[in-house]
């Protein structure tokens, strides 16, 4: 997957067929992080309702992201096939939530692996390799999208 061009607010990427399948698989995996994973740190003077409000807001955000993922996966017109591959168009706003979704897949799988400290040296086995693969693949797509944003700044 690579950035072909930016037209105003639209980023046009080219993907191979397998890349497209992997990209969609990463989106389809969302959400992976268990709900209310990161509690707002309780400190004296912090109202008790802060945690509840934060949980509610994050839960709503996940629902909204999931809706957007489903709409993206169902939108076949978003892809344009050519001799050289498949072109995918994303707006800057869409890239922003796709980044959140991909990072959820990356961080969520890392959490489900037991939050290993030595992530880069983690040796996958038959049980853990799907999670390690999802972490790495979502990370690669994140880097491509981040490079595209940086390129256009």
């Amino acid at each position: 997957m690579k950035l072909l061009r930016v037209q105003k607010d639209h980023y046009i990427f080219r993907l191979g067929r397998q890349e497209k399948e992997l990209f969609e698989l990463m989106l389809w995996l969302y959400p992976v992080i268990p709900s209310a994973h990161e509690p707002l740190k309780k400190t004296p003077g912090t109202p008790d309702q802060s945690q509840r409000l934060l949980d509610e807001a994050l839960s709503e955000q996940r629902k909204e992201n999931k809706k957007q993922v489903e709409a993206l996966l169902a939108d076949k017109a978003r892809y344009h096939e050519s001799d050289k591959g498949i072109e995918l168009t994303l707006t800057a706003g869409e890239i922003e939530w796709v980044l959140q979704v991909l990072n959820d897949v990356r961080v969520g799988n890392w959490l489900l692996l037991g939050s290993p400290e030595g992530h880069p040296r983690l040796l996958p086995d038959a049980e853990t390799s799907p999670r390690v693969a999802a972490m790495e693949i979502s990370g690669v797509f994140q880097m491509i999208l981040l490079d595209a944003i940086e390129h256009s700044r």
Partner: protein, 97 residues
Amino acid sequence: MPEVMPDIERDEKSKPESAKEPGYLVICWNDPVNLMDYVTHVFQTVFGWQRPKAEFHMKQVHNLGKSVLTRESLEKAEHYVHQLQKYSLHATMERDE
């Protein structure tokens, strides 16, 4: 009937607003999974910072284990923590004593 004037005398003993209000620190913590470029991007997006400032705080998180990103009122600190957690960063807030 005595004329009543509004009290417009300045209270010189009052502390500045920032000193009176309790402040909350928004802190981002290190983890071995979030990509450095991603963390930089999130700081730029959430706080509207230029890349050098965002990278400075990202490196603090990476090298020192945490970075105090800003000091805000309770409401604003909660907002920023929510924004950072929306991006799956490990962010918390603490009262600034």
